[in-house]
Amino acid sequence: MHLIRKVSSAAAAILLSTGALAQNASDLIISEALVENVSSVVDGYGRRTAWLELFNTSQGTVNFGGCFISAGDSLYMIPRGDLRTKLGPRQSVVIYCGGKEGDGTFFTGFSLKKGSAVRLLSNDGKTVIDSLSIPSDLPADMSARKIALDAKAMDWQADPLPAEPSPGAMNIHAPMQSGAERMAATDPHGWILTVTSITVVFTALLILWFIFSISGRFAVKAGKKLGRQTSAAEDDREATAAVIALALDDYLGSSIHDTESYTITINPTDRSAWAAPGRNFRNKPSR
């Protein structure tokens, strides 16, 4: 018994920690990087520097404060405690790689180099969460990036070709379509969805039917073995209960339903325990 308790506690702890890990910095990727910035975005100081983009692939908010960005021997720790390091689901943030240290949370203080890799490290400074290789022949104003093949499943792949930079936007082959837009295009009259849905509903309930038919047979057999075969009187019990319930309902009409049946009425009276002389704080004035 003690062992079972230990095992179940351990399992619960593992489950809880897995849940906690599900929405942490490990869901971040380096989705894009640009090294030679001639006419791309300017930073808050009006400079054109190299930049990289982090993207949150999860459905929850991720705080990347305390994580590290490294390129070659350079290492930059993203400060903790800055509210702006919380990245919403499927959102991206641009970090500028240039300028000098101390420019702010989103400035690494070192630049990126072609032919190297930029890495995102967890807050231990060692575990690599994600990396992006920057080709040595990356043209100016073109970025190295990862691209989402399936926006729903968050299936990302490195794009082998230099791309037009798109800082702050999700890198995706085709614009994302909502389910309704997709259905409007592929099933304008709704027949495919209807037939599919009805099939699924029937399948789900058919499986329930199948399983509970079998389990019911076992239950009946087990009942017979134990000599718990129901008598005719027992068989009638539920029908009788239904009849009684309906009869009661008919008899009481609807008065049993949500109606306040108690009313407190306070009538003024001279003769009350509260009016007794002994309960008064002062004596009645004598005439």
Binding site: G190, I198, F202, A204, L208
Partner: protein
């Protein structure tokens, strides 16, 4: 003196009288009508009273910008309304429904579960019609779910697929749920012969406690694996039922089916009602939604009854199913099962169909949650 008159004039601009439109008055009258039928006729009073009063609350004309309206960020009503907008309330109601539903009728007669699937045709019939009328697929899906005859599911799905139509969809769903006896009876009589209405069905067997405990676990695993998008509703429904049947969590089950569901029902009714502000609610679209909602109920009822008649073609004499339980496949628990009982007793006063009808009835709850999950998966 002049200052006082100016102040009074300024105050007048803040009053409801100065900002009133005829649309506000129409909505307030509809709210009063809902409260009236809930009290006098006792049609779904637990829902129609909060919704009706919410309609009045939401349609009090006021000067905008006072941060009190339901659509104004940060107002009390807006905060309470988030439970509807974000879909928090419906799963909590499903928890309570699970904790108060006895699935033994379904467990003992699993063959009747398919009637609960057939009655979901109402959802997809209304979906097709809504597309035909020019609604976008997401709007059509949200409208179609009215046919599931399940208020929380309708609110849950419409909050995800078409939040702008949610007020009309919720009011329509609850109104027709209140009218289940009125809508279903003529359809049942029209589609069945007297001979069919007299069919007597075998009594359901007794279900062991072990079966009742296994049901929510297995039922959840099957349905959630097939339609994970229905997880919030299915998870809470079956979890609530496990609380009820496990026998060791009586306090939790009592809370779920008592105070919790009461609180959430009050909040959901009031805020859904308050969300029906005249400028957002009184439109041609709302009228079409009401029409489609009625049609979806009709299709759902007819599908259930006709499906039973179809099954009977393959069943031997003496083991046929009374088609009067077909209407119970819509998930208005237990009203539609009561309609089966009442109509059945009209044909044969000694023929009680209530327990048999409860099987498709609770299957309809599962079926409509599964259907909502599918629609959310495809259209969300």
């Amino acid at each position: 003196m002049g200052n006082i008159i100016d102040s009074l004039q300024q105050f007048w601009q803040f009053t409801g009288f100065a900002n009133c439109t005829w649309q506000n008055l129409v909505m307030i009258l509809i709210g009063i009508f809902f409260i009236t039928i809930a009290i006098l006729k006792e049609w779904e009073p637990l829902l129609l009273v909060p919704i009706g009063f919410g309609m009045i609350v939401g349609n009090i004309p006021m000067f905008p910008g006072l941060n009190i309206g339901i659509y104004e960020d940060g107002s009390v009503l807006n905060i309470l309304y988030q439970g509807v907008r974000q879909g928090w309330y419906p799963p909590l109601i499903f928890l309570g429904i699970g904790a108060m539903t006895d699935f033994s009728a379904l467990i003992s007669q699993p063959r009747l579960v398919l009637i609960g699937a057939a009655a979901q045709m109402g959802i997809f019939g209304a979906y097709l019609l809504a597309l035909l009328l020019g609604f976008a697929p997401n709007e059509a899906g949200a409208i179609g779910i009215i046919g599931g005859a399940d208020g929380p599911t309708a609110i849950f799905l419409s909050s995800k697929l078409a939040p702008d139509l949610m007020g009309a969809i919720a009011v329509s769903a609850y109104s027709y749920m209140a009218l289940v006896p009125v809508i279903q009876r003529p359809i049942m009589l029209a589609l069945t012969s007297r001979k069919e209405r007299l069919i007597r069905m075998e009594k359901p067997r007794e279900v062991s406690q072990r079966e009742k405990i296994i049901f929510p676990v297995v039922g959840f695993l099957i349905t959630a694996f097939i339609v994970p998008s229905g997880l919030p509703l299915l998870g809470m429904l079956f979890f609530g039922n496990l609380l009820k049947e496990s026998g060791v969590t009586r306090r939790l089950a009592e809370t779920a089916r008592g105070p919790l569901i009461d609180v959430v029902t009050t909040l959901i009714g009031l805020t859904v009602g308050a969300s029906t502000q005249a400028d957002k609610f009184l439109s041609g679209k709302s009228l079409m939604i009401f029409g489609l909602g009625l049609l979806s109920f009709v299709i759902a009822t007819a599908s259930g009854v006709l499906f039973v008649k179809f099954i009977n073609l393959f069943r031997p004499e003496g083991r046929k199913i009374n088609p009067l339980i077909g209407n119970a496949g819509v998930s208005a628990v237990p009203d539609s099962a009561r309609v089966s009982e009442v109509v059945g007793r009209e044909a044969d006063p000694d023929n009680h169909l209530l327990m048999q009808a409860m099987a498709p009835n609770v299957a309809g709850v599962i079926g409509s949650a599964v259907a909502a999950g599918i629609l959310l998966g495809f259209l969300g």
